[in-house]
């Protein structure tokens, strides 16, 4: 066969790191500043309206966590499928999901707000409600905490395992690392799928403890995945625009990112619509109340916005070939879908707090800044201390020369 794989293409590490003095070195500082601003805002406004604070925090938190989990899924898929094109962007993905341990600490405020968020956690709630009594073996605070710990242990373990081994390969170029990471990708995906499903049930579905949907784990996955691809579609062109990796990532890679974005826009719509459609069609009150709450008053507008904005517009926007191959057009698509993913999470969480209609609050912004600032700071800090591309991945050459047929 070709002699490509007799040599390991080595990029000089100066070509693949953020040069000193580059503006992107300041990302951790900017992130921290936002976080500080957000925390101050929460500290000032939170005590007056604790319920709003905890809901806003949960929502912002889920948004950024879903991006990290999406990144982990994406990387594991790439390993499992032995996809060659994505290796140049893999380090960016790893940076995003390596923030999971940080996200674990950001979960702590949620624990303080359990009684505000989850009706089932209020002592004495089960006495009045037969369904809560039935679900009590699962929906109780100790088990909830144990499960949360399990999720974070699993996620952090997988994330750090993949992050560390991949970074280690930068210096050793060891083929065996790739084989090992690929071998474990399958089981890790299964663990990730199950933990994220139950996390979604614990943290989102049990906000309305009477409701249930077998599809919800898949729905959460779909949203996380597309949120992450959207994030990549923004970060990668931004990096190129900032002069980082602009000789490494070509229009071909952007095209593939765009194709993923397009495909998962449709996938998200398929999953979301299936869930809605089946509940709408059967019209059973025990399930349909959840959607009914989201189709009344100003929430109806948000629902319509989701349909048109999370599916309709991006679908036609991303159809064309040229859009996917240009950095700024792809980034516009990515930004839009990131916003839509946020709207999606907002639409899932907030109607429980504000059934009467959409009630934006300054705390939404404050918590977004607080959680997001930490997330960005952590990711930025990680980016600064490593190569932006897996320097000595055995298949890097293939990825660099990748061409859409």
């Amino acid at each position: 066969m070709t002699s490509e794989h007799d040599h390991v293409v080595s990029l000089r590490s100066e070509e693949a790191t953020i040069p000193p003095g580059h503006s992107w070195n300041r990302i951790p500082v900017i992130g921290s500043a936002c976080a500080l601003l957000g925390v101050v805002g929460c500290a000032i406004l939170g005590p007056a309206n604790p319920k709003q604070f905890f809901f806003s925090w949960l929502m912002s938190y889920l948004f950024f966590l879903s991006l990290a989990l999406g990144g982990l899924f994406f990387t594991l898929f790439m390993y499992a499928c032995q996809g060659g094109w994505g290796i140049v962007v893999r380090r960016v993905c790893e940076t995003v999901f390596a923030t999971i341990p940080v996200m674990a600490t950001l979960f702590v405020p949620v624990l303080f707000g359990l009684h505000y968020l989850y009706p089932w956690s209020v002592p004495g709630a089960a006495e009045q409600d037969a369904l809560l009594r039935w679900k009590a073996p699962f929906l109780n605070v100790p088990f909830f905490l144990i499960r949360a710990a399990i999720y974070y242990i699993c996620w952090s373990f997988i994330a750090l395992f993949y992050y560390r081994l991949s970074r280690g390969q930068d210096s050793t170029g060891d083929f065996a690392v790739s084989a090992r990471l690929r071998k474990f990708a399958g089981p890790c995906i299964i663990v990730l799928a199950l933990t994220s499903t139950f996390a979604a049930i614990d943290w989102i579905v049990s906000l309305t403890p009477h409701w249930y949907s077998t599809m919800f784990g898949v729905y959460f996955f779909a949203g996380s995945f597309i949120g992450f691809i959207a994030l990549l579609s923004v970060v990668v062109p931004a990096m190129r625009g900032a002069g980082l990796l602009d000789t490494v990532i070509s229009a071909e890679h952007l095209h593939d990112l765009g194709k993923f974005l397009f495909a998962f826009t449709a996938f998200w719509a398929y999953i979301g619509f299936s869930q809605f459609f089946l509940i709408w069609y059967a019209n059973l009150p025990e399930e349909s109340f959840w959607f009914k709450a989201r189709l009344e008053g100003s929430w109806e507008i948000v629902s319509l916005l989701l349909m048109a904005g999370h599916f309709g517009i991006p679908f036609f926007y991303l159809m064309g070939r040229a859009v996917k191959r240009r950095g700024w057009t792809l980034a516009i698509g990515g930004t839009w879908l990131l916003v839509m993913h946020f709207v999606d999470i907002y639409w899932q969480v907030m109607p429980t707090l504000h059934p009467e209609g959409v009630r934006p609050s300054v705390l939404d912004i404050a918590t977004f800044l607080a959680v997001g600032g930490c997330f960005v700071a952590a990711a930025g800090w990680l980016m600064r201390r490593q190569a932006l591309v897996p320097l000595r991945d055995p298949r890097l050459a293939e990825s660099l020369m990748f061409e859409n047929a």
């Binding site: 066969m1 070709t2 002699s3 490509e4 794989h5 040599h7 390991v8 293409v9 080595s10 990029l11 000089r12 499928c81 032995q82 060659g84 037969a130 369904l131 679900k135 699962f138 083929f175 790739s178 084989a179 690929r182 399958g186 299964i190 799928a193 199950l194 499903t197 009477h210 249930y212 949907s213 077998t214 599809m215 919800f216 784990g217 898949v218 602009d246 000789t247 070509s250 229009a251 071909e252 398929y270 999953i271 299936s274 459609f277 089946l278 509940i279 069609y281 059967a282 059973l284 025990e286 191959r325 240009r326 950095g327 055995p394 298949r395 050459a397 293939e398 660099l400 020369m401 047929a405």
Partner: protein, 487 residues
């Protein structure tokens, strides 16, 4: 041979794995594939064909008797109004999905290994869809008014109920059958031209030539052709997802516990791909040996197929787990009872066959030894299909036989005519497949040629892009696509 083949697998560095063994040239590929059609009918073909035709005859008898005497000859009763008929329908539609996945979805993912099996898989899809369409057609009772499902203006001014999933089925499966035939035919055109140009008799030349539409390999034609192929692949992908989702909605839009659950659409699609790949494995194991195509349909192909089976089997297992958990979590006593009844009630035997075949048996595919062991693969693929048939049976019958009102509980047992229809459908399927294999090239020769190393016009140039020298110049940043390059 198997030793070195297996060693070639799973090399983490191998970006461009050797897909076709023994380094044939283009002509050798043409020869070995065309030979399957051109040589005199081997005895082995008759050994498969005769029993298939007999079973097809059995189907004819069973269906005729069904039309004459009525649905009562089946074991259907109250409360079990659907049993083997719809189980068989979903079973066959599911099998068809693998063909489209191989043709369309793997094409979109640039998986070159699909070229060895896509022609047979697409043919399998068409025949599976034929078998599938049979069952809803014959189970209606008054077959002579089956045309009422189509929106045709009539003297009563009545129209079909477009809000019913049964009608979505009609449209979905018809469209699926049509698009599958179109996709398969478009792929066949260049190969039919090959057969035409090699034909030794006037009759063959005329027939192949007619259907080859005068194809002459013109690059200007290939340009539009490639575009059409890509578009069809891009259309077939959501189509295949939608078809089995629509089939799942036959159940999911109802109110029955065990049927009404939101995860059904993707769960059914994953299950369909699972069983479909199992059928492809079964067919390919037989065909590659019978036609000496082991160097084109290699262990690597089976490795990949087994991996896909592992993935989709795991998705099915995930769905089982989610459903089971939610049946408890929902607090709906009927829902919970249905799942308990599945595992412990009168149909527990079917449930545990399903679990063993679908969840436990594919787990061996984690191990490469199992994925590349042909006898094991053959047996495993049949086990998976048995399991998937039982899955549909369990879903349909357990939810029907014990629903809300205990006084309406019952039990279903198949009659000889249920069994005849199922066996007969296999007869139809294998008869069509035998005919396909006999008269049409079962490997997409023009596509396989594109994955040979000689097909790459830049084959010799790769060596320049090497260590440290990969060069900015050869990895352009904002590279404009070459004018006219297809996608």
């Amino acid at each position: 041979m198997a030793q070195t083949e297996a060693e070639l697998l799973d090399n983490p560095v191998e970006g461009n794995p050797t897909l076709i063994l023994r380094s044939p040239d283009f002509h050798a590929i043409t020869e070995v594939v065309a030979e399957t059609v051109e040589r005199p009918t081997p005895i082995g073909w008759w050994i498969f064909f005769i029993p298939s035709v007999i079973l097809l005859g059995l189907l004819g008898v069973a269906v005729s008797w069904l039309f004459w005497e009525g649905i009562g000859i089946w074991g259907l009763n109250i409360p079990v109004g659907w049993a083997w008929d719809i189980t068989n329908f979903v079973f066959w539609v599911g099998i068809g999905h693998a063909g489209t996945l191989i043709s369309a979805i793997l094409f979109l993912f640039r998986q070159k290994w699909r070229t060895s099996i896509n022609r047979s898989a697409e043919a399998m899809t068409i025949f599976a869809v034929m078998c599938a369409m049979l069952f809803p057609g014959i189970h209606v009772g008054r077959v002579w008014v089956i045309y009422w499902v189509f929106p045709v203006p009539n003297q009563m001014g009545v129209w079909p109920n477009f809000r019913s999933p049964l009608l979505w089925d009609v449209f979905a499966v018809s469209v699926y059958g049509t698009v599958s035939v179109l996709f398969w035919y478009v792929g066949l055109i260049p190969d039919l031209a090959t057969m035409r140009d090699r034909a030794k008799t006037r009759v063959r030349q005329a027939v192949y030539g007619f259907f080859a539409l005068g194809w002459r390999g013109s690059v200007r034609n290939w340009n539009h052709y490639e575009s059409a192929y890509l578009v069809l692949a891009a259309l077939a992908t959501p189509l295949v997802l939608s078809v089995h989702s629509v089939v799942s909605m036959d159940f999911a839009v109802s109110l029955l516990p065990g049927w009404h659950t939101t995860i059904f659409p993707p769960y059914f699609v994953a299950g369909a791909i699972f069983s479909g790949f199992a059928m492809v494995v079964t067919l390919m194991v037989i065909c590659r040996t019978a036609f000496r195509l082991e160097h084109i349909i290699t262990l690597r192909h089976f490795d990949y197929m087994a991996k896909i089976m592992l993935v989709t089997g795991s998705m099915v297992g995930y769905a089982y787990a989610t459903e089971f958990f939610t049946s408890w979590y929902s607090g709906n006593p009927y829902e919970f009872f249905t799942f308990m009844n599945r595992a412990l009630g009168p149909y527990a035997w079917a449930y545990w066959i399903m679990i063993t075949c679908n969840v436990i048996s594919p787990q061996v595919f984690w191990f490469k030894k199992a994925r590349t062991n042909i006898p094991y693969l053959f047996v495993a693929s049949i086990i998976v299909n048995i399991g998937m048939w039982f899955e549909r049976f369990v879903i349909i019958v357990t939810s029907l036989h014990r629903d809300f009102l205990p006084s309406a509980w019952g039990y279903f047992s198949p009659t000889i005519w249920d069994i005849s229809c199922l066996l007969g459908s296999f007869g139809l399927f294998f008869t069509m497949f035998c005919l396909f294999v006999r008269f049409l090239p079962m490997v997409a020769t023009s596509e396989v040629k594109t994955v040979l190393p000689q097909a790459n016009p830049h084959a010799g140039e790769g060596a320049e892009r090497q260590v440290g020298d990969y060069r900015r110049a050869t990895v352009p940043t904002h590279r404009k696509p070459a004018p006219g390059s297809a996608y």
